[in-house]
């Protein structure tokens, strides 16, 4: 009976967890931040895969997940760093001037999100 109940809880939590696609990119030109964007989109169907790494945030106000992510951008970048960030840099040096262009990208990945009243749990899927 107890096992059935636990299974029911697990299945219900799986069924009600949301899946979001998140990507992040920022461009630095000549040692100055030029452009930064984090894109969040709700998945239309659940993503397959097992949970690899998770991050938990405390939630205080009634924001949407998209806005919540934007407030917690710094922590999210640290989380993306654990998952893997792509670095591309192009530098050109001339007799008169030099330019540096660095792009940091976190490619679009599906996350399982438990968006509750008190906390938010974002889990990366593998």
């Amino acid at each position: 009976m107890r096992i059935l109940f636990v299974n029911f809880i697990l299945l219900s939590s799986l069924a009600y967890a949301d899946f979001y696609y998140i990507s992040y990119k920022y461009v630095v030109k000549d040692f100055q931040l030029y452009n930064e964007q984090i894109l969040v989109s709700r998945a239309m169907q659940s993503c397959a895969g097992t949970i690899s790494q998770s991050i938990v945030f405390e939630k205080k106000n009634n924001d949407t997940f998209e806005n919540f992510i934007k407030y917690k951008q710094d922590k999210m970048i640290d989380f993306f760093d654990k998952l893997g960030l792509h670095v591309k840099s192009y530098d050109s040096f001339n007799t008169t001037n030099s330019h540096t262009n660095t792009t940091i990208t976190f490619f679009t990945q599906c996350f399982k999100v438990d968006f509750n009243d008190n906390f938010v749990k974002i889990s990366a899927l593998k």
């Binding site: 630095v28 931040l33 930064e36 970048i77 792509h86 670095v87 001339n94 660095t102």
Partner: protein
């Protein structure tokens, strides 16, 4: 009579020795006293020769080398400047400069670990250099970097970043 026989044998022995040495090709680096190699073995040696030439280059002293039992730490200092010239608040300037410094640190780590593609172009006209350009390009995927220290002074943010390389991670 005996003397003549001894001297004769010595001369023949020397002559034989010299003839054996003459059979050695001048290109061979092997000493003459090594035993004769059959043509099959020689062919095998020729095939194996390029393999032996691919040995690791000699590194300068105190160069950090990744070993299987010891993780290697690579540390860099990235720099960034706030894009607004006095237009934004100090806190905003710090946040923006820090982001730029982190990107620079990522680039430096990628340069150290993976290497840099360097491309140079010189445009010469009438035996004179008109234009000289050097382009560098880095592309890598980084994971598990840590920020050790952050400092902000006179609008310049410096971020010390570290990456721990493990032999197992690279082999995988």
């Amino acid at each position: 009579m005996k003397k003549n026989i001894i001297t004769g044998s010595v001369i023949t022995a020397l002559a034989l020795g010299f003839s054996a040495c003459a059979s050695c090709q001048p290109d061979d680096n092997l000493p003459c006293n090594t035993k004769q190699i059959s043509p099959v073995q020689q062919k095998a040696r020729v095939i194996q020769m390029p393999m032996t030439k691919k040995s690791l280059p000699k590194l300068p002293k105190n160069t950090p080398v990744l070993q299987c039992n010891k993780p290697l730490r690579i540390s860099v200092v990235g720099q960034g400047v706030a894009p607004c010239n006095g237009a934004c608040s100090p806190a905003q300037a710090l946040a923006l400069a820090k982001r730029a410094a982190i990107a620079d640190a990522y680039r430096l780590i990628a340069e150290k670990v993976k290497g840099v593609y360097v491309e140079g172009n010189d445009y010469v006209k009438n035996m004179m250099i008109k234009k000289s350009t050097v382009r560098t390009h880095v592309a890598a995927c980084l994971r598990n970097t840590t920020i050790v220290e952050t400092s902000f002074k006179d609008g310049l943010c410096q971020v010390e970043m570290e990456i721990k390389l493990k032999y197992a991670d690279i082999v995988r």
